[in-house]
Amino acid sequence: MDRVALASAPAVERVGASSDANYAHAPAVYVQTRRRMSINGWTTLIVFLPPALLLFTVFVALPMVEAGWYSFFNWNGFGRPEKFIGLKNYVYVSGNPAFTRALINNGLIIVASLLVQLPLALGVALLIAGRMTGAVWFRMIFFLPYILADVAAGLIWRFMLDGQIGLPAIVTSLFGLQPFYLLGSTDWAFTAVLIVILWKYFGFHMMLYIAGLQGVEREMLEAAEMDGAKPFQRFWHITLPLLGPMIRLSVFFSVVGALQLFDIIVPLTGGGPFDTTHTMVSFLYYFGITRMRVGFGSAVGVVLFIICVTFAFGYRRLFMRDD
């Protein structure tokens, strides 16, 4: 390296320059020379890498490839898949009204997350991030549902929304009406699913925003305030843009979470009434796994896979490039 140049530089600068040089240039130079693999390096590689590669290949990569393969067969899982039926499974899947409904439901969950959950989470985060008394407690309470298993959350809400002993009973008994079974109503059951998702997950998104708000510099807000910016202007022109990366992340998690939602559906509605509350995964479970229709279920899996991958790549390319 250019030691001569450094040595002749003033003392103060030298410290900065040399540490800069270490970070910016040194690895590139070092890597080429030192990192030539020694015998020791090869042994390490041969011991350290295979367990991960093997596990990943056997339980993640292969099953996904096999899902693509099985989806061309009519197969009940026993013996070898032999009845090749081409794309028929995909035709069956797309022609199944319960699947169409599941697809719409997944979309509705995403819309509800974006329009209700995220603004709520952001609002609460803004309130708590200020010097609010009891902020720590509020944070803890709102985050609590997130650590509970979806199954338990679903079951708790099945009780809470029960027509006889749940919240609807307060209203119906007050007015002397017949008990209203919300979870058994085709009009309302899916709303219940959305409520449970909101209850369970908004605390997680709130935490993301609180973490993001810590990066918003107080000085900048104070400077804006001195210049006479109103609270809303400060939020709109300073806080919100600075929260951009966190918002994009939170949207990403909402969509990914919505696409794989399953555990809440089973205890809450089991997909009913009349298959109106399925998500893609619960559809896959009830129509593919429980009936051992391997080909059909694999086709659903492949559709889900394509949606997930398209979303993940598309979203990253479009929105998360500079994060």
Partner: protein, 270 residues
Amino acid sequence: MPAIVAFAALVVLAVAVLLPIGLTSLNGFKALGELQTHPFALPRVWMWSNYWDILMSLRYWQVLGNSLLIAALTVFLTLAVSSMAAFTFAHLRFFGHRFLLSYMMLGLLFPVATAILPLFIKIRDLGLLDSYWGVVLPQVAFSLAMSILLLRVAFKQLPVELLDAAMMDGCGYFRYFFFITLPLSGPVLSTVAIISFVGSWNSYLLPLVVLNSESRYPWTLGLMAYQGQYTTSWQLVLAFITLTILPAILIFLLAQRYIVAGLTAGAVKA
């Protein structure tokens, strides 16, 4: 004034969030008749036996024990396998390392559910159906991508000088890994451990597909089985829910800072 309004709004929201959990545990103390007539009042007669009978039952401790065993194995294996792999990706340059890393990162793109049917058949063909390993190994495999991603970044951030000095002194990669990398990576290792523990403790789909015997059920499956058996006795189901979510709540209250940091920081970095 607005501060008070904000505070009041937060209090209302907090009550709304806590209400379902509170009502669940309170109603677990009631007799069935009272639950049906007065679901929103404090119990007039506290039926401690609802809780006591569950606490005294083998089934309760068995499902918690199974969950703990599955989670412990998952965490241990995840840490071992992913830290070794992350170490090679962080420090060794070999032919195809970039390709292999992106190959493993494919795991970030899709959830277990997409490949659950072929996975079931794979587990069956390997003879792992209805065994703990049938749940543990796929869980580890699916958490590898995320764990390797987090660990590799952290391992790379350790000062290069450390590795240089160690190599100069004749310390091999193995010793460097066990005596320098791992001890210096406490925070990120605990992040990975927390994420994989919580994931395993709460997992439902995979054990549902893999396990048949009730004696091997984790608590999530045990809860659903209990509910199926006592559908008409909500008070017992509510007591059972309360007792099964209790460990998670207690640990959360005790180690809140670490859990929140682990679950959110992990998400943000990945």
